[in-house]
Amino acid sequence: MSNQGQQQVDVTTLDLNQLIEVKRQLEQELQHLTSSFGQLKGAQAKFKACIESVESVKPENEGKTTLIPLTSSLYVPGKLADLENVIVDVGTGYYVEKSTKDAIKMYKEKVEFVTKNLETLQETIVRKQDNLQTVNEISRVKAIQQREAALKAQA
């Protein structure tokens, strides 16, 4: 996608079959982009949920029992031993012990990072949709022209 600028083609010079091909390609790209958008949205929601979870690890909750999930359907009661630190997954199998404050800060940054990416992705999607619409429009015009030319040839 990096060489998009180099392959600029004037769509009005293409014939109908080529336009259909371009349209198909655009639709494919659009589908890929929207699915990425959904995935990013999911990641964003996950990080936000993490912030909420970390926020519940606070001194006020000392001594209260929580239920620890051993499996998705089996829980055992437990008490929080360390209310200051949490262990955070930073990716590729590494985990870091952080203070809750730092962990929240990190998650907030992650949410921001994802949000920024979502915005750029949104822009790209809108642009692609515009492109698709233009291609649709032109192929319709071309189809009409072709039909008219065929009629004229018959007459």
């Binding site: 930073v90 990716g91 590494y94 870091v96 012990e97 952080k98």
Partner: protein
Amino acid sequence: MSLEAAVSSFQQLQNSLQTVVEARQRLDSQLSENEQVKKEFSRLTPNNQIYKLIGPVLVKQDQVDAKTNVDKRIEFINDEIKRVEAQLRDISEKMEKKKVEIVQLQTKAQQTTQVPTS
């Protein structure tokens, strides 16, 4: 070479291009994940304990070890990217050549079928 053979080898090239492109994309996401980890590590203070997930258990790890490990991984991935890029170029070149070959075979086939009719 016959036209059919040329087309089938072109399709084969297309398939291998597909797999190489996928590999390239995988490497890209691995690289960005590792860079993310590197960034996270660079902001740690010496009293942040690092753990590594080995199977189902978290194992304590030295910060220096973890950092060099991630650096090494990034280096390795970058080398892999270079290798895959070279492969991509190679396959594209071959495809380009095949395309020319196919076009030539096609025009030849057309000429031979046109001769009896005209």
